[in-house]
């Protein structure tokens, strides 16, 4: 019964991500725009761009992931679905986790797929391209889960979008550090690739395990 409820939720979330204003697709476009804007600011020097490419891609991925997340619980809070989810027999923690998994598939996975193509425009080497995809694959679950906490804290608040970014961005510092370090380690450097990538996996696993409890607690304590 609980599996049936969770799979219904999962497919509904994917369907909504596809239909409402192309929420998932919009994340990739935002990612693309952020990456394209950077050379305007830095200049078209390909040597410089290829050196800081992983950093550009990671910051863009971070912002693009957080951008879509503020709607994660907000739309459910607005239309009353969140109240009803509280009356379901399924634990709210699992509901949060399933919503995050669906959100990750709809928004973060397209970013990971697009990242090597955008890396090409930054003249990154093949090893570095593989590095950036792998590091995003390992690190974006942590971003989604941390963002879910922020989304839960700001659900039901007006103008919550910016507040959520302010709350969550400082918490994403470790993910950014090890993500960029893994991506640059892939194309040579003093740190072996597996160290930052394993730390990144650890961060993601910890976030997947812990964040649903924090987000569910935030949703329950919402004064609505």
């Amino acid at each position: 019964m609980m599996q049936s409820a969770l799979s219904a939720l999962f497919w509904r979330e994917l369907q909504l991500a596809r239909s409402v204003g192309g929420g998932g697709a919009m994340g990739v476009v935002f990612f693309l725009i952020l990456v394209s804007l950077t050379p305007f600011a830095i200049g078209p020097d390909l040597n410089l761009l290829s050196r800081i490419g992983p950093a550009i891609l990671w910051i863009a991925a971070l912002l693009a992931t957080l951008l879509g997340l503020d709607r994660l619980f907000q739309s459910d809070a607005d239309d009353g679905s969140l109240d009803l989810l509280l009356t379901a027999a399924t634990p709210l923690e699992l509901v949060v986790l399933v919503k995050c998994v669906a959100h990750w598939i709809a928004t973060a996975l397209p970013l990971i797929v697009a990242s090597p193509l955008l890396g090409l425009t930054l003249a990154m080497e093949p090893a570095s391209l593989a590095g950036i995809s792998l590091s995003l694959l390992a690190g974006t679950p942590a971003l989604t889960m941390l963002g879910a906490i922020g989304a839960a804290l700001t659900a039901g608040l007006r103008r919550g979008g910016l507040l959520m970014a302010v709350l969550i961005l400082p918490l994403t510092t470790p993910v950014l550090i090890f993500g960029v370090s893994a991506a640059t380690a892939a194309s040579g450097g003093t740190v072996p690739f597996h160290i930052p990538i394993l730390i990144l996996c650890g961060l993601s696993l910890a976030a997947v395990a812990g964040a649903p409890f924090a987000a569910a607690a935030a949703l329950r304590s919402r004064d609505a």
């Binding site: 409402v20 204003g21 192309g22 693309l32 394209s36 305007f40 078209p44 090409l120 930054l122 003249a123």
Partner: protein
């Protein structure tokens, strides 16, 4: 002309035109591709990779032509509030995005053997990329606003704001003379490329234009039908309400 501004008359016209346009498109593209691969010579510097040009240049032309068509439709929406103009605008946006993407990808494939890199941030490439992003934004806007007339007005405003970008693309080569090749067909003093290459390019460009025209007419037709379906559905939903109320 005004007669065909009526959506019903337009549908009749489109039904008659589309088969002919599709046939012309196929013919032109077959001839164009034949010329590209078997007649047009390899470049003495670029070798066979110059053939990408016959795909790249027409799609670049169309990426801009599509925006011009969209701008005229946007004016039609703003000034006359005509539903056909709305449909023409909406149908053009994804087509424009597709041709612009084709232009970017073919340029990138051409650039790899020419410059040794997939991408350079020169002014022309970058402004085409910006055009692509504007198209994507328009597609997103269309998909987000539920009410068609409201979406059309919003998209028309965005289109007219974005139209500033078209002259920048056209003249960016003259403004910033960078890595990219200067325009060679329409420059003063006659074309710089040889006769068979020019013919091939012109036929391919014509073929692409017909392809665009065919797809655009089909998409407008779909959009008109989609709007009718939506209106009928809403009417049916309301009729249902009345029927139940009296029952």
């Amino acid at each position: 002309m005004l007669k065909y501004a009526n959506p019903t008359n337009f549908l009749a016209l489109a039904a008659r035109l589309i088969p002919w346009l599709a046939a012309a498109t196929a013919l032109l593209l077959i001839v164009g591709l034949y010329l590209t691969f078997f007649v047009a010579p390899d470049d003495y510097q670029q070798g066979a990779s110059v053939k990408i040009m016959y795909l790249h240049v027409p799609s670049a032309w169309l990426s801009m032509m599509c925006y011009i068509i969209m701008t005229s439709a946007a004016l039609g929406t703003i000034v006359w509030r005509h539903p056909l103009a709305d449909a023409a605008q909406k149908a053009a946006a994804p087509l424009g995005a597709a041709f612009t993407l084709l232009c970017l990808v073919s340029g990138s494939l051409w650039g790899k053997p020419m410059w040794g890199t997939w991408w350079v941030w020169d002014a022309r490439l970058t402004s085409v990329l910006v055009l692509f992003l504007i198209y994507l934004g328009l597609v997103g806007l269309w998909r987000t606003i539920e009410e068609p007339a409201q979406a059309a007005r919003a998209a028309a405003i965005l289109t007219l704001v974005g139209v500033v970008n078209i002259p920048i693309i056209k003249f960016s080569v003259d403004w910033w003379n960078t890595l990219h090749q200067p325009a060679s067909v329409f420059r003063v003093g006659g074309p710089a490329i040889s006769g068979s290459m020019l013919w091939t390019l012109l036929i391919m460009a014509l073929g692409f234009s017909f392809l665009f025209l065919t797809l655009h007419l089909m998409a407008i037709r779909n959009e008109i039908l989609r709007r009718r379906l939506r209106r009928l559905s809403i009417d049916a939903a309301h009729a249902e309400e009345k029927a139940e109320a009296t029952a």
